[in-house]
């Protein structure tokens, strides 16, 4: 029964990482996590998950690289342009009515979603009144998000996405290109607080008018999804907006009844005002 042993080793690895470093992957969906752990075995040249566990327990230096394998997402600026178009055309008019705004990009990875929203808010004239919170559990991802540097060969896609999302200017106005990289204008993140925050173990830290958390919940099992959505609910102001990934929904959440579907297709929800 080799795979049963491997399942046991996987659980032990997750326990080890949690107890030693307080990163909690125990509620992640196992199928994709297993794939990533296998990639980690290759990367760290380990023959078994137990061997990887031994390494990570005794050598904290490999933790950042391991977190990289277990969590890093490759996203795009304005991934799913219709989502950002819906934010621009349907959510922004509501946001305009507030004198000050807080926006949380939960699980910001290397910052693609953050810069997308920062550009959108600048174009819509909301930037000055907004504080963005960009959080992730992976310090290396946060560092990259703070840099805002992307490979130039991705920019054609990003520009096309931006255009389709209803962008009001050329995306090239927001970055400078050099040495094969595009560096996004640092002023875009001048109003952003970057922070280490876990949807698994951490709590509410501010009251938000908009939370965007895309393609993060798919990695969680239902119980953990429920926790995260509860956290979003508690973090949102009344009539605050929650945007999820194209294939995510609230349907398994205890909190589904506390939200209305604001844009069914784009998975944008509105926290009800009455609870």
């Amino acid at each position: 029964m080799p795979h049963r042993t491997e399942d046991l080793e996987l659980r032990l690895l997750l326990e080890a990482i949690f107890h030693r470093y307080h990163y909690d992957f125990r509620g992640y969906s196992l199928a994709s996590l297993k794939r990533r752990v296998r990639q980690a075995l290759e990367k760290f040249d380990c023959q078994s998950i137990s061997q990887l566990q031994d390494r990570v327990l005794h050598d904290a230096k490999i933790l950042p690289a391991l977190l990289g394998v277990l969590t890093v997402q490759v996203s795009e600026l304005f991934r799913d342009p219709p989502y950002f178009k819906a934010i621009r055309e349907r959510v922004v008019p509501h946001l305009r009515t507030y004198p000050s705004l807080r926006v949380w990009v939960a699980g910001c990875s290397a910052g693609e979603e953050l810069y997308s929203l920062a550009i959108l808010f600048r174009e819509e004239g909301l930037e000055e009144r907004t504080i963005f919170y960009a959080t992730d559990i992976n310090p290396e991802a946060l560092r990259r998000a703070q840099e805002g540097v992307y490979s130039l060969d991705r920019l054609q896609l990003f520009s096309e996405n931006h255009r389709q999302s209803g962008g009001r200017r050329s995306l090239s106005e927001y970055y400078t290109a050099a040495y094969g990289h595009a560096r996004f204008d640092p002023s875009l993140r001048a109003r952003t607080v970057f922070s280490d925050h876990s949807l698994v173990t951490d709590e509410v830290f501010a009251e938000m008018q908009l939370i965007s958390c895309r393609n993060v919940l798919i990695y969680f099992d239902r119980e953990l999804q429920n926790r995260a959505i509860g956290l979003f609910h508690d973090s949102l102001a009344r009539r605050g907006f929650l945007g999820l990934g194209a294939k995510e929904s609230l349907r398994f959440s205890d909190h589904a009844g506390a939200f209305e579907e604001f844009d069914r297709l784009e998975k944008i929800y509105l926290k009800r005002g009455d609870r």
Partner: protein, 192 residues
């Protein structure tokens, strides 16, 4: 190896596979006893009509999979574009947005490997017409965990690259003429 009853059918294909699915799915009875999961390579446009197109042709229920959907007998779940579709051991599906495999997301290998991992000998894998080698590694994983591997006979396939690659890589895989695939699935589903 135990003669466990089959518990799940996973199908994959790319170019030409819609024709094959249009023959296979309508030939399965409405009370087909196993859940069916399908990955077809599609452009990453967000909305796909694949599930609707297939639904119109057959009596089984066909719809696009949603995150954490439960596997149900006789229900066909189709992978949405731009996400990998995986099977969890608790008989639900999950998605991931990891790198494309062999330029494909959804990837047939990812679905097949996760099914093998979760359901071992209960998995029937079926690889159809297609233009690259995705699915070959996944079929091999299914066989390694005691499952059954079927491949659309390359002579029947609009695009035989994918079936051929699988037959080369996975020698236990059986090439089945398109017209007999539904019958084979039925027999396997009702105990071998």
């Amino acid at each position: 190896m135990n003669a466990l009853p089959a518990s799940l059918v996973v199908m994959g294909g790319s170019a030409g596979s819609l024709d094959a699915l249009s023959v296979i799915l309508p030939s399965l009875p409405d009370d087909f006893p196993l859940p069916v999961l399908i990955v077809v390579h599609l452009p990453p446009a967000r909305e796909s009509l694949l599930a609707e197109v297939l639904q119109r042709k057959c009596g089984l229920r066909v719809r696009e999979a949603e995150d954490k959907d439960e596997l149900c007998p006789g229900v066909v779940l189709v992978a949405p574009p731009d996400y990998h579709l995986l099977v969890e051991a608790d008989a639900r599906v999950s998605f991931c947005s990891d790198e494309p495999q062999l330029y494909s997301r959804p990837s047939i290998d990812v679905l097949f490997e996760s099914a093998a991992e979760a359901f071992g000998p209960g998995v029937i894998g079926l690889l159809l017409s297609g233009a690259n080698s995705d699915g070959a590694r996944g079929l091999q994983a299914i066989v390694q965990r005691g499952g059954t591997a079927l491949v659309q006979a390359p002579v029947d396939a609009h695009c035989p690259t994918m079936p051929r690659a699988a037959l080369e890589r996975c020698e236990q895989a059986r090439a089945v003429p398109l017209s007999e695939i539904a019958q084979q699935l039925q027999e396997l589903a009702h105990g071998r």
